[in-house]
Symmetry: C2
């Protein structure tokens, strides 16, 4: 009996020990500034894997993490290039762990993924910044150009962007990889943003001849689309697929309750944050921005969420200078190759950057959709998934339709769609869009400053190109400020809501998106665009103010509001000021139940 | 009590069931000729994983295995290129399994590894052949050549070797990969072997301009070392590292009791058979050879064994037309980066094609060696190995020397060296050597026909280039026939025994190899070479007959028998016939205890 009492007391003691958060000073485990701390940190992280409620506390300083001794694993990373990944913070199966950087800089050396977070329940990242000694792009300042010869001379720092020339080709020597110029975009150092109409300076690098003309000087002859970029502008070279998106800054998958607070990402060989199949994510005061020395921050999106659930809440963040969108929240359509019988579908992940994705697991509710219309037709539940390879899996479902229609099919996971709040954030001076969102959850986008080069908010969904699923059901966009959206000078809108269809697809019987409310937003615009919608049932555009902005050359021709194949549309109390003529509202003949009233500065054009 | 009796009876029943070999007709599991059977076979193999003593029996026929639905895994494969591997026979953890092909052809389509055998205890592969619809090299028959312009026109079958031209470069469209010409070698269709002195036709493919001159016609201009290959010869293009050795035919690792009988490998994107860390391997009547339509068989070695133990027995096999050696049996030297203290060594696998290798595990006896001399200096036992990444691991050892010498170190695994019998085999018409062997086990090479383009038997070992370990201790080479060894026209020998040293290394105090007996062999030779030895203690060359062969142009200058830094050498009763002059025996000043007697047709030259 005495023994039993002892055992109970010991049990109580243990459980008390476990429920108290333990704070570990990383310095006492050999993680200190002034040396490569990867090995010591890897060991420390592994040692606390089975201990819940732990804080790893970094005394303020610069910590260097090299790739040589880093733990490695073959990893599929959605929207990136899969492969062997070396990991600085390899967080697997931890429970309630906090990484508190105490204001430190985490400086990466080489091809590493700073944070890998898998099957973690409860994680907080706070108070640090992530940077790389050598970034994943090159910045090339134009110092001379010859319009006639379609050539230019660039200043390229040989220390920061070491490079060689091979058979007239420029190759950047980037952490053990020889990266060709690949994709390019030109930034304007005045605005610190992509230059207006950057496309006209774009470089076909297979058609250019590169040579060294002096210290830190590179000449490129030929290959510029219309002309070489202006003197003083900065051309960014950011490589080629499939070797240019190997290292996001933070990769989270299959986890729960992620919190990021006061974290700055200065560079990334991919996205700042990529999150897969995770429940509840909160970003607060996260920044993706460039250092003073560089124009560009991350190689791809600032943040990206695929197949998540619960709530994604993003507040008080700054996303700027990245080479892709600020945020994208979506699911995945996966095409069916063949129905194998016995409720089994052979499925093929069709977008190369979704290869290896966990589409679903037993218990997930899914829907079969037509690849002709992108519309759903039968809901069922997964009972088993067997992965064959990174491309293919065999999925067994509980219930089957009495007959499968004679069209190409795909599947969509209904269980893994999150609600989404995006509030009080700044997005600016980046390539591409501010926000992409396709989730069936409740979406609120409010009080943001959005100034992107392509669309402001893109609500898309497609089953043939990016395979991003999630026709929306409830989206509110209110009290945002949209500034000079679309300065890539294409047909861009503060809000574009439309599935992306290929020529052999059609919109089908029902509308794709539902209930999009665009309310009380302010738009400063050189092109007079507000909202373009296609296949939306329930569109409210109300109380918005659009003012002319003279920052960029005024565009003409496209309507301010455009509706195609929509239903239940209300456009009311919107005001346009400062434009030469009234802005145009158009609706297609197959758009129904439209109410347009009390709009100032607009005219209808049917 | 009744219940207990029932249990015992049930147990007996189960154990009887388990001890009987079950023969499974694969046809009853959907594995049938005339369709892609990969998925069905993968499933069948997985279903018998926990069932010992099983034979998968294939009714005779051609079975097609495509890559699309194959199980996939990131795999390190020694002496190959690591990466995601798709597997046709994924054999993991099976016990006493037999694959009986019944005389069938296993035809591969795409980048797959036909056999992956890991942690299997007892496996027999028999009665089948492995081939690929599209091989991993291209055969280009010379139909015209212009010596002045250093150019040639080749006939290349567009169906079998589909290709494109890009910026003057020829790229083979090989199962989803665009492979440049890369390495080349010229075969002589008369001998079905590499052409004499093939090096003079070798192509620097970065300096050649490729173009299409008609159907199945490709012109290459420039880049041939001395001249384009002769009309009628066949140039083999076999790609570049690290994408040209992705798919061996059979990969075995960490297994026991492997038996291969009556198996033919007609092609492989790498080696015919690569075996790592496996105990007891028997090959009987294995063939690596080309089909009638092709000149070349495997892209690399016919067979290769690294870090094995027990006995490797190879009998009655035929190895021909491969692009590398017939067999290589060796261990690995792994350099030490740093002694971390606490008996821990940070080690770095230095040859790219050993990355991912299991160097050792707890319990293995190892030796620390100097990287200056390649000589051992302290034996100890591994107590733990922690893998960091494919390059590096941290190894803990039981005992440490009192002081570590101030030289670069490496480690060698003493536990994993096999005995080796190579008997009654034919090796011919291949690029490179017949046999490479560096093992501390007992070696017997007898009654073979060996006719390779480089050395016949190479007993090397090096710590700076290939990192192949295993100074030999007991090698007998007897009653073999060596025919025209060295027709690449370099300084080749039927037997070369010498560690490979770099300029900053030296031979050290002791001899590296020991006890090599070369007895009663017959050598037909155009160059008069027999044995070259360096750093060997105990060399017996006895009763061998060397006859002049006129097949290739007679070479001059190098000695028939050459000894450098050897000890305890006996050269006796050897006969040379048919050569213009007496063959030369040389020994260096630091060679000691040499006995030379009763040799006919030889002369000593000190």
């Amino acid at each position: 009996m005495k023994c039993m009492t002892k055992l109970i007391l010991y049990g109580l003691f243990l459980s008390t020990l476990c429920s108290q958060a333990r704070i570990i000073d990383v310095a006492s485990h050999g993680v200190v500034p002034g040396k490569d701390s990867t090995y010591a940190l890897n060991n420390l992280i592994q040692s606390v894997q089975d201990e819940p409620d732990v804080t790893l506390s970094f005394p303020k300083g610069q910590y260097d993490f090299h790739s040589e001794n880093a733990l490695e694993m073959h990893r599929a990373v959605s929207n990136h290039d899969n492969g062997l990944k070396r990991m600085v913070f390899p967080l697997f199966n931890h429970k309630n762990i906090t990484i508190d950087g105490g204001g430190s800089v985490f400086m990466m050396h080489g091809r590493v993924i700073p944070f890998t977070i898998e099957s973690v329940d409860g994680i907080t990242l706070k108070n640090f910044s992530i940077d790389w000694k050598q970034p994943f792009h090159a910045e090339m300042k134009v110092v001379e150009r010859d319009l006639k010869k379609n050539s230019a001379v660039f200043e390229v720092d040989e220390q920061l962007y070491p490079h060689i020339f091979q058979h007239g080709q420029l190759l950047f020597d980037r952490m053990g990889q020889k990266d060709p110029i690949g994709m390019t975009i030109v930034f304007d150092p005045q605005t610190r943003a992509p230059i207006f109409d950057t496309d006209k300076y774009s470089l076909n690098s297979s058609r250019t001849k590169a040579s060294k003309t002096g210290k830190n000087r590179i000449k490129l002859e030929g290959g510029f689309k219309k002309e070489p970029p202006p003197i003083g502008s900065v051309m960014i070279s950011y490589g080629v697929h499939p070797t240019s998106r190997l290292c996001p800054a933070i990769h989270v998958t299959n986890s729960k309750n992620l919190q990021i607070e006061n974290v700055t990402v200065y560079a990334a060989g991919g996205m700042g944050l990529i999150v897969e199949r995770t429940e509840n994510c909160t970003l607060n005061d996260m920044k993706v921005t460039s250092t003073k020395e560089r124009v560009v921050s991350s190689r791809a999106d600032a943040t990206h969420f695929i197949g998540c659930k619960g709530l994604i809440k993003v507040e008080d963040c700054l996303f700027e200078h990245m080479l892709d969108d600020a945020i994208n929240v979506h699911g995945a359509y996966v095409p069916v190759v063949e129905y194998l019988g016995n409720n089994e579908f052979l499925c093929n992940i069709s977008h190369s950057q979704q290869w290896g994705l966990t589409f679903g697991e037993a218990g997930d509710r899914i829907v079969l959709t037509s690849r002709k219309t992108v519309l759903p037709f039968f809901e069922t539940t997964i009972t088993d998934v067997r992965k064959l390879n990174e491309h293919r899996f065999v999925m067994t479902v509980a219930e089957m339709p009495t007959q499968l229609p004679d069209v190409p099919l795909s599947v969509e996971n209904l269980t893994w769609y999150p609600d989404f709040i995006f509030r009080n954030n700044i997005v600016r001076e980046n390539r591409a869009r501010s926000i992409l969102v396709t989730t069936k959850g409740k979406v609120l986008i409010e009080n943001n400053y959005l100034s992107s080069q392509m669309h402001g908010i893109l609500i898309e969904g497609d089953n043939n190109s990016w395979y991003e699923s999630g026709a929306v059901e409830d989206v509110t966009i209110r009290n945002n400020e949209f500034v000079n959206i679309g300065y890539d000078n294409h047909d861009r809108y503060p809000v574009l809501a439309s599935p992306l269809l290929k020529s052999d697809q059609h919109l089908g019987e029902g509308r794709y998106h539902r209930n999009i409310h665009f309310i009380n937003n302010t738009i400063k615009s050189f092109n007079g665009h507000m909202v373009k919608a296609r296949s939306v049932d329930g569109l409210l555009v109300s109380g918005n103010k659009i003012e002319f902005s003279s920052t960029y050359p005024q565009s003409e021709g496209d309507p301010a509001l455009s509706m195609e194949y929509c239903d239940h549309v209300t456009i009311e109390n919107n005001t346009a000021t400062g434009f030469k003529t009234e802005l145009v509202i158009t609706e297609s003949a197959d758009t129904t139940h439209v109410k347009t009233e009390q709009n100032n500065g607009f005219k209808n054009s049917k």
